[in-house]
Symmetry: C2
């Protein structure tokens, strides 16, 4: 598989994910329509679908077909989207733009944005519990447990709490690592583990997928920090320099841009090596590590 083949792999998987998301989200005219419209607005806002594709790629790396993994892929994207909606609220980061469009609460108001986020989080677990009968129910319960833990108060939410508390405080690498490994890393790690668990991975394969997810997740967030400084609005869809203006705990604030780039490069190399250890079916995961390193938005 070459880089051009990765592009077509990503395009095909993204298409599967888009269709599954549309199938699993109630139509926008479902009563009461305003909250369903807000859910659609934020879910179909041009996201890259990195997380659901990681679920599929992890399952495929251990021999599964992508289709039975689609409910889990949708669940992680619902959770990712809910976390963005709540994170953008005035009580949190108070962001007006996301992916180049007004944020959910700018369009639908704070109350509906709050409830649309709640509804997406809830829907994630409804959809996960509807996984086809070809997958043993014990595996689905294990995946549910792991997804909930990764999104909870000692995972994604814990990362958001520490991120907010750290604003304007002196930045330490220890704190930045905690924030990144929880706020972003926890759900990305869960994507790899969910794909593995549902795809029938052995414990050794699952350990490789887990370490891959940890390396890729941290690399992804470091490149995000760097793009906030060096990125172009037309590609990132976000106003630049926001992190620095807010005194956010970031890698460049801690180590500078160059050392941050180097760290991201090392992590992606590590992820690539872990993917190679998983064998030929993990080739998309290997190439995805390079893709994350080169990303512009």
């Amino acid at each position: 598989m070459k880089t051009t083949e990765l592009e077509s792999y990503l395009a095909e998987r993204r298409q599967l994910v888009q269709e599954a998301l549309a199938r699993n989200l109630p139509p926008p005219d479902t009563y009461p329509p305003v909250v369903h419209q807000a859910m659609h607005y934020s879910l179909f806002a041009g996201g890259k679908r990195l997380r659901p594709i990681l679920v599929l790629a992890a399952g495929e790396a251990v021999g599964s077909q992508p289709e039975p993994l689609l409910p889990a892929a949708c669940a992680v994207e619902f959770i990712h989207t809910y976390s963005l909606i709540h994170d953008d609220l005035p009580a949190m980061d108070n962001d007006d733009y996301r992916r180049g469009r007004p944020t959910c609460h700018k369009v639908y108001g704070e109350a509906i944005a709050l409830l649309a986020g709640d509804a997406l989080l809830t829907l994630a677990f409804e959809v996960l519990s509807r996984i086809p009968a070809t997958i043993p129910p014990e595996r689905i319960l294990r995946a549910t447990r792991e997804l909930a833990a990764s999104a909870g108060s000692q995972g994604l939410i814990g990362g958001q709490v520490v991120d907010m508390e750290a604003e304007g405080q002196p930045v330490t690498l220890e704190k930045v690592n905690y924030i990144h490994n929880h706020k972003t890393g926890s759900l990305i790690r869960a994507c790899l583990r969910l794909g593995g668990i549902l795809g029938g991975a052995g414990e050794e394969q699952l350990a490789l997928l887990t370490r891959y997810g940890e390396a890729l997740g941290l690399a992804f967030q470091i490149t995000d920090d760097i793009l906030d400084i060096t990125g172009d609005f037309s590609q990132t869809g976000k106003q630049g320099g926001v992190d620095a203006a807010r005194g956010k705990a970031t890698y460049p604030a801690c180590l500078g841009v160059e050392a941050s780039r180097q760290k991201a490069g090392e992590l992606c190399a590590e992820a690539g090596a872990l993917a190679r250890a998983l064998g030929p079916a993990a080739e998309p995961l290997e190439l995805l590590a390079g893709f994350v390193l080169r990303r512009q938005g």
Copy 2:
């Protein structure tokens, strides 16, 4: 079983629930502590634990022991508590008091209250997926699906959306019924169904439990509406007359207090009859219907 026996049944079950809630919630010093403290603050705020007790009573009505149902009982109380925290936020009802104490965001700030609610919702599904192996996993997945649907955009959240939209609008009985049957009724109905499903109810028993839950849920919300007008702060812990001041869609606003009382009485009588049809093990459910009708807070 007499009314005094109901009191001791409720006290014993409440004790089981309290212990299970404390076991299933991370301790308040768990990192990051502020969000765990906020979760504890709202969860241990003197709630009656009606919903978790309904889960246990429904399971017991179909022959289950209460203990295996405790994770599900905790899950519904986590969801109920999250919904109160979010409902009290300034962007929603903007309430300063709940059960006689300052609301979560008055103590911990809006951002932490928002995240504590998110964390309780997430924890509900984590705990539900940890149900003991004595219950078949297919039943747990069915319970997960039903709980998520009852709490989602076409259940509890849908009710909150329509409730907000209805504020200050002309009140119709149709709209009040939609709000009550979704905002409150949906989760109460789910309590009965979860207890039944996990407890091994047959479809006929499950249908009786479902209708009981629907009748009791609506009766509960009507008595809540009435207490907002006639209740005593020392017993309700809430400021009275708030619904009317806000132009909330309520039963008394629609039918007056007396006709609302009569409706609640009819619903509780119906619930009692449904419980009797379930047989002697459903006696606590039968007496609970009378308990809801007489409640003062």
